[in-house]
């Protein structure tokens, strides 16, 4: 595990003014995302699938900061996603009739979307702080228990709150999410995750994961670091929820169950606890798997029931996947390494002289 790589990697762009270096990747990514948006403007299904995938990537990469890098065990990520989804949704509904008349509609929509997303993200971060502060002080499995409880509490609260549409859910949220917007947040969470991993903060998180007592003895404020990692992670879960709320027709408590939380945990474990690119690959795989099964079933017989059953067999499939993984490759696909550190080893070496 060599944590310096990210810094030296990103700092290598020496031709760029220092003030721009931090946001350079964003400047590069934006036009790419806009082109992608334009290419996909006529394929709603592809856009939808990409958006789902993006939300899952954001969830997995952000959970990896806590469960992977810091070695804690949170199993309530869907709860923070729910906080983000509902708060962003409610914000958008409240702002529905407001318009920035001096801007084109498409642009004004995106501005409001960002406002709603930030409302969702910040609420989730706040929830993360309130949940994290007491439970991260303690060592061990308390976090798992508390986050599990938190996820369920959020569901109960939502189900009983009129403003959140109770069990029926919240509908009519403007469908303003775009491929470019979800892509931007995917990009951002990956950037943040990698930069944390390569900084002294990330090093302290790794140290906590390795040995909390030793880290504390070496002057690392372990509770502080854990809480900050948890807050950042919750923020992005909230953003993911907010995005989700703006491209599905309706959000209800059923979208944020324990099953969803476990799905995210499986993604992180599958990719390798601590590997950002591992989390991405696993998120993509586990998003496409059910879709692939669904279309495969649909192709064989047009029995719609079979296709519907895919959703029901999800949990056992995840369970099975976890068991197989733990037995055959407990460190996950990539372990703590990143894609570019792992790939060269998979490619058979060329002979010398070639």
């Amino acid at each position: 595990m060599q944590t310096a790589s990210a810094v030296s990697g990103s700092g290598g762009s020496s031709g760029v003014p220092a003030s721009l270096r931090g946001i350079l990747p964003v400047l590069v990514a934006l036009p790419v995302l806009l082109v992608l948006e334009w290419l996909l403007s006529n394929s709603p299904f592809a856009s939808y699938l990409l958006s789902i995938m993006a939300v899952n990537i954001i969830l997995a990469v952000s959970l990896n900061i806590v469960n992977g890098m810091t070695g804690q065990f949170s199993i309530g990520h869907a709860g923070f996603m729910a906080v983000g989804a509902y708060l962003a949704g409610v914000t958008s509904l409240a702002l529905k009739d407001v318009a920035l008349s001096f801007l084109p509609v498409a642009v004004s929509d995106q501005v409001f979307l960002v406002v709603a997303l930030l409302a969702g993200g910040i609420s989730a971060a706040l929830a993360g702080f309130l949940v994290g502060l007491p439970s991260l002080r303690l060592r061990g499995d308390y976090l798992a228990i508390v986050t599990l409880g938190f996820g369920e509490i959020i569901r109960v609260v939502v189900t009983n709150t009129e403003a959140f549409g109770r069990a029926l859910g919240l509908s009519g949220i403007p469908q303003t999410s775009t491929v470019a917007m979800v892509g931007f947040w995917v990009f951002l969470v990956v950037l943040v995750s990698r930069r944390i991993a390569g900084s002294s903060h990330g090093r302290s998180l790794w140290a906590i994961r390795e040995d909390e007592v030793a880290a504390e003895a070496m002057g690392v404020n372990t509770t502080g670091y854990k809480v900050r990692a948890f807050v950042i992670s919750s923020f992005f879960a909230g953003i993911a929820g907010g995005l989700f709320a703006h491209f599905v027709p309706i959000i209800n408590p059923g979208s944020f169950t324990f099953v969803k939380s476990m799905e995210i945990v499986v993604m992180v474990v599958l990719g390798g606890l601590g590997s950002t690119t591992g989390a991405i690959v696993a998120a993509v795989f586990l998003t496409l798997l059910p879709e692939a099964l669904r279309s495969a079933f649909a192709a064989f017989g047009s029995e719609s029931t079979l296709a519907q059953q895919v959703d029901q067999i999800r949990m056992p499939v995840y369970g099975l996947l976890l068991v197989v993984l733990m037995l055959s490759r407990p460190q996950g696909l990539f372990g703590t390494k990143e894609l570019w550190e792992v790939i060269p080893r998979w490619i058979p070496r060329r002979r010398k002289g070639m």
Binding site: M1, Q2, T3, A4, V7, S10, G11, A18, R21, G22, I23, L191, V192, R195, I196, S199, S200, H201, R203, S204, W206, A207, E210, D211, V213, A214, A215, E216, A217, M218, G219, V220, N221, T222, G224, R228, I232, T336
Partner: protein
């Protein structure tokens, strides 16, 4: 002459019915090199744990630079200038040797964050989040700080003779080098007092001899006060100016090596008859 850097006054700790340490007193000044010895289970490591805030004393007071630290967290006590190594090596196993030390250096860099007075906690929190922001934005100041950390850590690796292991994972280092890496890591926090828990355990005779020289050198170069727990009598007697002997949590003797060596109680409780025989009798 200023007061002691580390002080224990009447410290006792009880685990259920077991009094692991009773009425323990200690004072370490700048430049001291003291030893702490005693049979297995005497309470030596427990004493370290109480001094560094891992355990809270049931009685008595621990002071670092004259400041009462009872109730403070280990990382706060470390920031005040107390660092330690562990008997059962506790390196960050999957991190490289360099990163192990950098973690500790980082803890020191964040020291200014924790001030005192009203609002300090809030300011500290704000500053922490700003620090993260700087890391995310790769500000020039942040990058310069990272380079400085690397430089410091590299220097400490060199001091401990570990430069050749810079990029190796800590778990892959041989035993003796792991012990030295623990010391390098502890030094990264820039301590005033260093507590070494059996630094020579598992080392061969040559490594032990080198370590003795090294510990003295550290004391002089870094202006440290050092307290060593060690079972190897040759090492302890060779480098320590003052030795405290524990048995069943009680301090049974204290003094210069020659005094301790000839103390009746110490011989009975710890050094044993075999020691007497091989050293031709002490009394």
């Amino acid at each position: 002459m200023s007061g002691p850097l580390l002080e224990a006054v009447g410290v006792s700790i009880q685990f259920g019915g077991l009094k692991a340490l009773s009425d323990f007193n200690l004072a370490i000044h700048k430049g001291d090199l003291q030893g702490l010895i005693g049979p297995n289970g005497a309470g030596k490591t427990t004493a370290f744990n109480v001094l560094t805030g891992v355990y809270q004393p049931t009685q008595g007071e621990v002071r670092v630079s004259g400041l009462r630290v009872n109730g403070r967290l280990p990382h706060q006590i470390n920031h005040l200038g107390l660092a330690r190594t562990f008997q059962n090596i506790r390196l960050f196993r999957a991190l490289t040797a360099l990163d192990n030390v950098k973690v500790a250096c980082r803890g020191q860099a964040a020291l200014h964050v924790e001030g005192v007075g009203p609002g300090a906690k809030f300011r500290g929190a704000l500053r922490n989040y700003r620090d993260w922001w700087r890391a995310l934005m790769l500000t020039p100041g942040f990058l310069a700080e990272e380079r400085e950390l690397t430089r410091q850590a590299e220097h400490l690796l060199e001091v401990m003779g570990l430069s050749h292991r810079r990029d190796e994972e800590a778990r892959n280092l041989p035993y003796g080098e792991q012990r030295r890496l623990e010391i390098a890591r502890a030094l990264g926090t820039r301590p005033k007092v260093l507590l070494l828990d059996e630094p020579a355990a598992g080392m061969n005779t040559r490594e032990k001899a080198d370590l003795m020289v090294l510990i003295r050198k550290l004391r002089d170069e870094f202006d440290l006060g050092i307290l060593v727990i060690e079972h190897d009598m040759k090492l302890v007697m060779g480098i320590c100016e003052k030795i405290t002997v524990l048995d069943h949590g009680e301090t049974i003797a204290r003094g210069a090596p020659a005094e301790v060596r000839s103390d009746r109680k110490v011989i009975e409780a710890y050094l044993g008859d075999s020691y007497l025989e091989s050293h031709g009798g002490a009394a």
